[in-house]
Amino acid sequence: MTLDSGSIGPLADTGPVRLEVKDLRIELGSSHAEVVGDVSFSVHAAELFGLVGESGSGKTTVALALLGHARRGLNISAGEILLDGANLLDLKPGELRELRGAKVAYVPQDPSAALDPTLRIGFQLREALRVHPGAVDDLESRVTEVLRESKLESTPEMLKRYPHQLSGGQQQRVALAMAFACRPSLIVLDEPTTGLDVSTQRHVLETVRSMCRSYGVAAVYVSHDLAVVGGLVSQVAVMYAGRVVEIGPTEQVFRLPVHPYTRGLLAAVPSPERAEVLTGIEGHPPRPGQKPKGCAFARRCSYALDACFVERPVPIGIGDRLVRCLRAREIENESHAARVAVPAATAGHGEPMLKLRGLDASYGRQRVLFGVDLDVYPESCTAVVGESGSGKTTLARCIVGLHPNWTGEMAFEGNILANGARRRQKGVLKQIQYIFQNPYTSLNPRKTINQILSEPLEHFFRISADERRARVIRVLEDVSLGTDFLGRYPAQLSGGERQRVAIARAIVVEPDLLVCDEVTSALDVSVQAATVEVLRRLQHERSLAMLFITHNLALVRSIAQSAVVLCEGRIIEIGSVEEVLEHPKEPYTVRLIEDVPKLAEVGSAPEA
């Protein structure tokens, strides 16, 4: 992210301490198992502080504790949260209520769920000010002012709109405006840009930053996306299994990470500059109450010694940092693992496997795709990129047969494809397989993994039960899951494991073309890396043709050979990945590439 990053450091240190968290401990109400423990950090005025980690690391739990809130079943059992010197954990419920919104504000992850769909924007903004009458002098002028500051039109028309009449980016700006309205001292942002595409995300982040600056607000930014955090915050805490494993200035932490977990997270971030093998972190964090005796990360750590499984590490100071790792000093001197380049693969050759000509698609009366021509070659991966609303998912759904409302010509291996899956031959249905975006909804929660994987085999092949079982086991190994997954239900799997099961379900029938629709957008960065790597390996090993739909340009480099840029339903650029990413012709593509958050732009970036 090319945010104005030069001024982060000096300014941050000068302001007074706004927020200080000391030895915070949060436990399960019933079993007193630790969910979050020993969390300490402080944030200065006008400083942005990042809290990063995978799902389940406890970062959202800490963020909510900053508002004096613990989710049902959780208890804040020890520690202090000092806001301008006063411990907000000592406050009575009534005092806490006065504090929230006025002095501490919260920006939720999903603005479409946080804004009341039945109330106008103006009402919701004024309401925030009305419940805290002392916060500002003139309510109406503050509303206009805060709208302008959050880069929204400060017109009466804007105030009369309902949330559904705004775009996702605008909704998030309204949520920001509501949070900043009462001029709080502390603002907690819980992954506020996760649902937005890169360009919108970039603009929202710039707004967050300028607003924190101008008010001297301390901000805590919670995210799993290291590239976003890296370009935004000056101090960062990396959380794992409810504890801070590494904390310090962003520039140091990201440039030379010490804790193996931080190293792993950073290695998982894709880069649009280089085609690299992405390495994820295998496994998942321990659940509360099941934490091992020693270091919680030891089981997943490639640096782990025997001592790591026994002894719980205490924070060790390295430079301006604190690292919770027994081997911190040794690891510090070991070089950060170099990234491995993806072996060059040749782009499409021969006859295209899938051929689209003049494809028009519409939802009801609204046209979504306009004259799309696309060729997908055997044994090669084509990436389709574009912002949300560009029609890329519709394109995928037309191809696989989920969206029958299209005209034009679509041919697969020379045969014309019918409009919907119901009208296609069984053979074609087997050859083209689709992987859904969200693994939390694409697996039937009432079926075991074995059932989920066996059923397509039963449907497409006449093979014996033994043969079927053998194939299921083989495909589970292919996606790096063991046979102990056979009897489990999706609810017992993490997001990454679920998506691998979804991949396994698609490849178990030995298709020729795999259509992947934003398959990593619901996953953490570290899990995304592992998932993309599984797909890349399978595509190569099985000589699959693949259509990889994504809004994340950084991923394209690691997996695809050719790229197609989709803008408002039209293909505006097409070519090899190198051509499109390095010499984009269209301004739209240039902007898409620029807006991708990049790790290389962390901090003041002294080296090239």
């Binding site: 989710r71 996760t194 496994g283």
Partner: protein
């Protein structure tokens, strides 16, 4: 990515039991559920073992009509001088079995109609749901009475008639629950394989409707009991002399001032049974929507799911 250790975090995790077992278990453990089960359970238990422990034959005249309670006849006698206690003990199981059969019948038809309407959409949806609207216009009891009065009181007919009157309401509820399930990606995923609609409905959609189905079944079971008792009371149930709680209320009400127990006991039993089942059903519904679910599980779900 060469070697992968199995994610040891959940290796020891218990295997999930079928959802209905989990739901029932969780419901019984709530206070509300425990009260419901003990109320309904004791009445059911009485109905089941009653016929074997009844002191007299239920059809045998043992004393004068409407005798008050005595040490020999604990609840007194009825209009024909039969022992009320024996008739109460013997007259429950038949009612319970018939109510159960009617519930199963009604829920099956209703669920089939509801799922079909939700999944197939279009004209079939319209046809099914408009039929449901028409049937719902008749009060249940009137509809059942109509059928029974045309054909006559037969066990199978009472079951079918009562069950059939449940179907429209069940169809409504199940359709709305199923509508949401049909939109899920795993349903789309099997559609993409070209799986037949009937199989999609049975194997993908039905298993995800376990909790609404359980709640509906509980509710319809109490309605079945009340309806059947009502039919008996109106004289359209099984003909005498078979003992039956509903019919007992009707035949003994003329002697209400002489022996109140001949009416009160069957009425109280029916009330306890329906209240118990309703309370339990309520707790199942609460558990199903997570109101009373365990917080640890809720936490893990929340932390794990992020889009």
């Amino acid at each position: 990515m060469a070697v992968l250790a199995p994610p040891s975090g959940i290796v020891g995790a218990p295997r999930l039991r079928p959802q209905w077992v989990t739901l029932l278990g969780a419901a019984v453990r709530t206070r509300r559920g425990a009260i419901g089960v003990s109320l309904a359970g004791s009445v059911v238990l009485m109905a089941v073992i009653g016929p074997f422990v009844a002191p007299y034959s239920p059809d045998q005249t043992v004393t004068f009509p409407f005798a008050g309670p005595s040490s020999q006849y604990l609840l007194g006698s009825d209009q024909l001088g039969r022992d009320v206690l024996s008739r109460v003990l013997a007259g429950g199981w038949e009612l319970l079995l018939m109510a159960l059969a009617a519930t199963v019948f009604g829920v099956l038809i209703g669920a089939a109609a509801g799922i079909s309407a939700a999944y197939l959409r279009g004209r079939i949806d319209g046809l099914i749901m408009r039929t449901v609207d028409v049937l719902l216009a008749f009060p249940q009891l009137v509809f059942a009475l109509l059928l029974v009065s045309i054909i006559g009181p037969k066990i199978w007919l009472i079951i079918v008639a009562v069950g059939f009157t449940h179907a429209p309401a069940v169809a409504r509820v199940i359709r709305s629950a199923a509508l949401e399930v049909t939109e899920r990606d795993y349903v789309k995923s099997v559609e993409l394989q070209g799986v037949r609609p009937a199989k999609v409905m049975i194997s993908e959609i039905l298993p995800n409707l376990v909790s609404p189905l359980m709640v509906e079944s509980g509710l319809r079971f109490t309605y079945s009991i009340v309806l059947m008792a009502g039919l008996s009371f109106l004289g359209f149930g099984l003909p005498p002399p078979a003992p039956n709680w509903g019919y007992m209320i009707q035949e003994n009400r003329i002697g209400l001032s002489l022996n109140v127990w001949a009416v009160a006991v069957p009425a109280i039993l029916i009330a306890l049974l329906t209240i118990g089942i309703n309370t339990f059903t309520d707790s199942v519904a609460r558990v199903a929507i997570g109101v009373e679910s365990r917080p640890e599980e809720a936490l893990i779900e929340e932390e794990g799911i992020r889009e």
